[in-house]
């Protein structure tokens, strides 16, 4: 019991220091707000307001109807262009991102059923957006075609109906394909990682620099008590920050938690053993706060890049995929997305549970052992 009291005085002291430092309040509330607002809107692969230009060499009612059909979709912004412009120039001068070239005779070929072709010139600098834009245009063209067929059938009811295959795709869990649905849980995972690792990486080194660590070492405080006294407050702060982030995500992005809140907290708690352990490990190995920052950033950048935050892990080369299998953040991010978006339960996340648990236990034990050696 007395041992708990020692830990309690540590926790009290840490919280007093935290409350008194403005930086910490920024970490708690400022960081989630900024990260969510900036990254939530910026890290997006949604393609909106595509600048679309038409080079209509046909000038028929059909071609005008085709152009008209793009007017209704809010994803496109039709830019007026000189009809003698060249598609490549429109793209390279940033006037348009997509140019649809309607060849002469288009309407004749199309209406006669001979089949007709259109040329689509897409700005391919950002491959992802280009593919998405291409798909949008194809979608609108398909719709245009279907409508025309129907009209023709009504006009000439005796003609043989043309067999039609319609693809009806439904996007599960994210019907609007809103990028933020996927990005926000990712940002939250990154936030939890950054906060916990930074706090713990600086913790001991700061006391080393202040000289207070030496003072602590002449006291009968045990290493376990010292570590617990340091880590419990950081665990609490990070979990508090997580609450703030969840609430903000709900308010700003209308993000609803599909799964269990407590399951999310359970996984976060387990995951924090890994990041806090790594932070403490860094803190015992380095001599100054600057070194601690350097090392923790180094680790975090690798964690984040290989986590599937920007690029899905399954799009990475096999060797990198294999490496990212050992990246705890990658698993935590998966868990967050699954719970927040799909509402997965513990059974469905069993693999991630065991991976995160063992990673936490291993890294935390290593940091406890190396902490002992240091003192």
């Amino acid at each position: 019991m007395k041992s708990l009291r020692v830990i309690a005085s540590f926790i009290k002291k840490e919280f007093r220091q935290i409350v008194r430092s403005r930086e910490m309040l920024i970490v708690l509330f400022g960081l989630p707000a900024v990260q969510l607002l900036v990254m939530g809107f910026a890290v997006s692969n949604e393609v909106k307001n595509l600048r679309l230009a038409f080079l209509d060499y046909d000038r028929s009612s059909s071609s005008r109807a085709l152009v008209q059909s793009f007017n209704t979709a809010d994803r496109f912004k039709i830019v007026p262009v000189e009809q003698d412009a060249r598609a490549e120039e429109l793209i390279s001068s940033w006037q348009a991102q997509i140019v649809v070239v309607i060849p002469p005779g288009f309407s004749q070929d199309y209406l006669s059923g001979k089949g007709s072709s259109l040329q689509l010139v897409v700005d391919g600098i950002d491959g992802n957006s280009a593919a998405v834009a291409n798909a949008y245009v194809a979608g609108v063209l398909g719709e245009f075609h279907r409508r025309n067929l129907q009209e023709r059938r009504i006009r000439t009811p005796l003609s043989k109906p043309i067999a039609e295959v319609e693809l009806i795709s439904r996007m599960s869990f994210n019907p609007d394909l809103k990028s933020s649905v996927n990005t926000i849980p990712g940002i939250i995972a990154v936030l939890v990682t950054v906060t916990s690792m930074m706090l713990s990486a600086i913790s001991l080194v700061k006391e080393k620099e202040l000289g207070t660590l030496e003072q602590l070492l002449v006291t009968p405080v045990k290493k376990q008590q010292l570590m617990a006294g340091k880590l419990v407050p950081y665990l609490i702060i990070t979990l508090a920050q997580l609450q703030v982030a969840i609430v903000m995500a709900g308010l700003i992005f209308k993000l609803q938690l599909a799964g269990s809140y407590w399951l999310l907290m359970l996984f976060s708690g387990i995951y924090l053993f890994t990041t806090l352990g790594l932070g403490i490990l860094i803190s015992t190995k380095v001599g100054t706060q600057q070194q601690a920052m350097f090392f923790s950033w180094f680790i975090m950048v690798i964690f984040i890049l290989l986590s599937g935050f920007f690029v899905p892990v399954r799009n990475m080369p096999p060797a990198i995929q294999w490496i990212s299998y050992f990246n705890p953040l990658s698993h935590y991010m998966t868990v967050l997305r699954e719970i927040v978006i799909k509402g997965s339960n513990l059974g469905q996340l069993a693999k991630e549970f065991w991976i995160l648990l063992s990673s936490g236990l291993i890294i935390f034990s290593i940091s406890v052992i190396s902490f002992r050696k240091r003192i």
Binding site: F10, K13, Q215, V218, T219, P220
Partner: protein
């Protein structure tokens, strides 16, 4: 109270402390004198368990410090050379924290330090943020923090460096009173006038003992008028010997 046998500390091939034998009694003020790098701080750090000796043994109150480190640490108060309280806590919060670490109820801790706090005139600044205090107050507060658990053995590593003469005298008054109540006080200093206040002193050079004894007797032995003179004389003799 504290007893060492052939205490040695080596850092690689460098012998920072070389065969130091000490026997410090209860209620004694024992001074470590020597130039910078003479091995004072290293010896003190070993005595309070911050450094492991390379060889030799230390017992505190009959307990081997290597085997009973936790029990021994309860008996030790330590004021480091470098100011080492939390600057972002209030003075009283620092004291509360250390009381908690030593498992002393805060009320009891306050009773333990009441006299020293009064003597130092610290009562009014206890609710100030520690980092905002002037140097003199910080140093006094450090000493007070080392006393929250009423340790029988107090280590003060250059407690008066950077303190004005008036405050130094006050400091020594407190050290004297602590010894009167039966505490052993081990002080390192490079102010030779302060050495006069010690019951016994050891003069160290290159990790070794040059002389050890009562200031008055040492001055007689070496026909020195003051501690300053004694210090320079014994170090000179020592250098002459080693050449």
């Amino acid at each position: 109270m504290i007893h060492t046998i052939d205490l040695v500390k080596e850092f690689g091939s460098f012998r920072a402390v070389d065969n130091i034998n000490l026997d410090i009694a209860k209620g004694e003020i024992f001074g470590f004198l020597g130039a910078n790098g003479a091995g004072k701080t290293t010896t003190i750090r070993m005595l309070c368990g911050l450094l492991l000796p390379s060889s030799g043994s230390i017992t505190v109150d009959g307990l081997d410090i290597a085997k009973h480190s936790e029990q021994v640490k309860h008996k030790i108060g330590y004021m480091s050379q470098k100011f080492s309280l939390y600057p972002d806590l209030k003075a009283i919060e620092n004291l509360e924290f250390y009381a908690g670490i030593y498992k002393v109820p805060f009320k009891k801790a306050l009773a333990n330090i009441r006299d020293v706090v009064d003597q130092f005139g610290l009562t009014d600044i206890l609710s100030s943020i520690t980092g905002d205090l002037p140097m003199g107050y910080k140093q006094r507060l450090s000493l007070v923090a080392a006393l929250v658990h009423d340790p029988p053995l107090v280590f003060l590593d250059e407690p008066t460096s950077g303190v004005d003469p008036q405050a130094r005298r006050e400091f020594w008054q407190v050290i004297n009173d602590l010894a009167q109540t039966g505490k052993s006080v081990i002080v390192s200093t490079h102010f030779m006038d302060e050495a006069e206040y010690c019951h016994r002193v050891i003069v160290m050079q290159d990790g070794r003992e040059v002389v050890l004894g009562k200031p008055a007797e040492l001055k007689d032995q070496h026909q020195a008028g003051s501690m300053q003179e004694l210090f320079l004389r014994v170090l000179g003799e020592n250098n002459a010997k080693s050449v």
